[in-house]
């Protein structure tokens, strides 16, 4: 029997009203998340990728009940939490924590690192006394590779990478089961990004964490995730185990997204699929398959009905009706092209 997932979303939707015109009446809605079914298994890292405007951050925030969904259900550890009030949610909030993109705006500049780290404990571990909180905060800092004496310092005394470590320590201090990380390495330099990714991999292992890793960077997701979901205009268009997604993409959007990643393989400029235009407005998405307006393989049928996400092989789902396509994997080109020294690393 398959183990029960930690998080399950069924038909999840999040709409935002758009005010337009002189009287500012609600004349339209943005369907930021539009009917998503998703499960995350215990101790799994699910990567969620998509371009800006795809709805990936909104989906993450809805799953955490930070932006309660307009429609659909969220089941956390066998309990449906969607109808819960803030008070009922509180014990669940302790079990799900978040790491944000910008380590500069997500830490209060007027609080010391110690105060920042102890804040969640004040809410969720009221039984703990001052000394107990301090000890926990010190431990959390050490977990993320920073010395305990940093507790008395302020955020501005730290570099971007160190601040992101502090943000991770704050998320870990309540020993959550689930972490949602929203673009946690996008604002960092590559060498610092590598340190933070290694840290995520380590704490995930040591604390047996379940994670949703939201990012626009497919190379990052390839490194950290067990499974990857690709989102386009509020819907998941493909979901598969990471290696499968990279080796055998089944949705043309995934193919295009991967083809667009510039890789440091010198002298080997791959033939690319360059999509035309931008992502359409989520206020009036195209009929049928939302990707058809930019898809190089679109046919008439694509405009007719919204293609459902369906199983194309065990564990691999895609929302494309064209089963006849053989799509290009970025691995086809790289395997021979990568320099010998890089393969040795």
């Amino acid at each position: 029997m398959k183990p029960r997932p930690l998080i399950e979303a069924v038909g999840l939707a999040k709409y935002f009203p758009v005010r337009q015109g002189l009287l500012a009446r609600n004349s339209a809605v943005v369907r930021a998340v539009d009917g998503v079914d998703l499960t995350i298994a215990r101790s799994e890292v699910l990567g969620l990728v998509g371009e800006s405007g795809s709805g990936k951050s909104t989906l993450g925030r809805s799953l955490m009940m930070l932006d309660p969904p307009t429609d659909g259900q969220i089941v956390f550890d066998d309990t449906e939490i969607t109808p819960f009030s803030d008070r009922l949610l509180q014990p669940y909030r302790k079990r799900m924590q978040m790491v944000f993109q910008d380590p500069f705006s997500s830490l209060n500049p007027r609080m010391t690192v110690g105060e920042i780290l102890e804040m969640p404990l004040r809410f969720h571990a009221a039984a703990l006394d001052k000394a107990g909180r301090r000890e926990k905060a010190e431990q959390a800092l050490e977990t993320v590779g920073l010395p305990g004496q940093y507790l008395t310092r302020y955020p501005h005394e730290f570099s971007g990478g160190q601040r992101q470590r502090i943000g991770i320590a704050r998320a870990l201090i309540l020993e959550p089961e689930f972490i949602m990380a929203d673009e946690p390495v996008s604002a960092l330099d590559v060498s610092v990004q590598a340190q933070v990714l290694n840290l995520f991999a380590r704490v995930r292992q040591n604390m047996n964490l379940t994670m949703l890793f939201v990012t626009h960077d497919l190379a990052v997701v390839g490194h950290i995730a067990d499974r990857v979901a690709v989102m386009y205009l509020g819907r998941i268009v493909e979901i598969a185990p990471t290696r499968t997604l990279f080796a055998q993409p089944r949705h043309p959007y995934t193919e295009a997204l991967m083809s667009a990643i510039p890789m440091p393989d010198s002298g080997n400029r791959r033939q690319r699929i360059v999509l035309k235009g931008d992502i359409p407005s989520p206020i009036s998405p195209p009929s049928g398959c939302a990707f058809r307006t930019r898809c190089p393989y679109a046919v008439l049928e694509c405009a007719q009905a919204r293609p459902p996400l369906r199983l194309v092989e065990p564990g691999h789902q895609s929302a494309c009706i064209r089963d006849d396509l053989t799509l290009v994997s970025p691995l086809d080109a790289v395997s021979e092209a990568s320099p010998t020294w890089a393969r040795a690393i």
């Binding site: 590598a194 290694n198 991999a201 497919l218 390839g222 490194h223 890089a342």
Partner: protein, 339 residues
Amino acid sequence: MSANITVSDLSVSFRSARGYVPVVHGISFSIRPGETLALVGESGSGKSVTSMAIMKLLAPAPMTRIEGRAVVTDNQGNPVDLVALDEKQLRHIRGNRIAMIFQEPLTSLNPVHTVGDQIAEAIRFHERLSKAEARRRALSLLEQVGIPEPAKRLDTYPHELSGGMRQRVMIAIALAMEPDILIADEPTTALDVTVQAQILGLLRDLQRKKGMAILFITHNFGVVAEIADRVMVMYAGRIVEEGSVLHVLSSPRMPYTRGLLASVPRLEHAGLGQAELGTIPGYVPDPAAPPAGCAFHPRCAHNKPGICDVEPPELVEVRAGHQLRCSRWQELCLEGGVR
């Protein structure tokens, strides 16, 4: 063919409470027509300061001190040194012979003027033209940078355009006077990968047609491989490795370059549950208190006390066109390569 821009021994210092702090140390390079030179480095390496110094966009003396030369050709075909020009003379060169595009097009465009007016203004600043004529040129430029329905877009405001479209408008303004040199400072960093691929393709096409030299500043080695012919790696205000993209990306010799490349997650390893990414310990040094000897030695896995922390290494040529700054490069090569 002679170079479109020749920078020699360019140094930049910023004034601080304790005197001038050097942030760029004697950088030299030249770019030929139709060539793209990438300048790579982490935040704080001095790559943007270098480009701003060439464009003379930094705070004027005495706040900053710029030394060295940056020679381009003026409208009459005479060589001029940008460093020596005053603001009035610069105005004829900047936006005309040498243009620049930035990371965030929304802050570089004026929100209260239409796209068409802004392009026309850039043209009329350098050339005596009627408004109607300038508008026709603006239209043709929008067409050249691949904006759909260009006639309609002339009268839109920047906020009505997507990030990719705004960057195309910036490119249209930059190319209005057909400059010899384009400086592109992280022009695709804020864009999605699919849009980035479009913009890189556009820059390549325009370069092929117009033959301009491009200085492309980025922190992304993938983008370097995609667009550049040659690459310079910058660390703590100095060029530490320079060569063809092929040489530098497939056989980097300087430990810093190797460290940076090893920290990039590689697609071919995706989903294999791979080992840790390579990292470089520590941080970029404070320009006011640089380490003795090689600026990278405190973070370098191959640091040898008595050598690396004594003499700052010179830039040496290790093969034709491939230069680097490391006192131990020969030893490290013999050891079977740096890891």
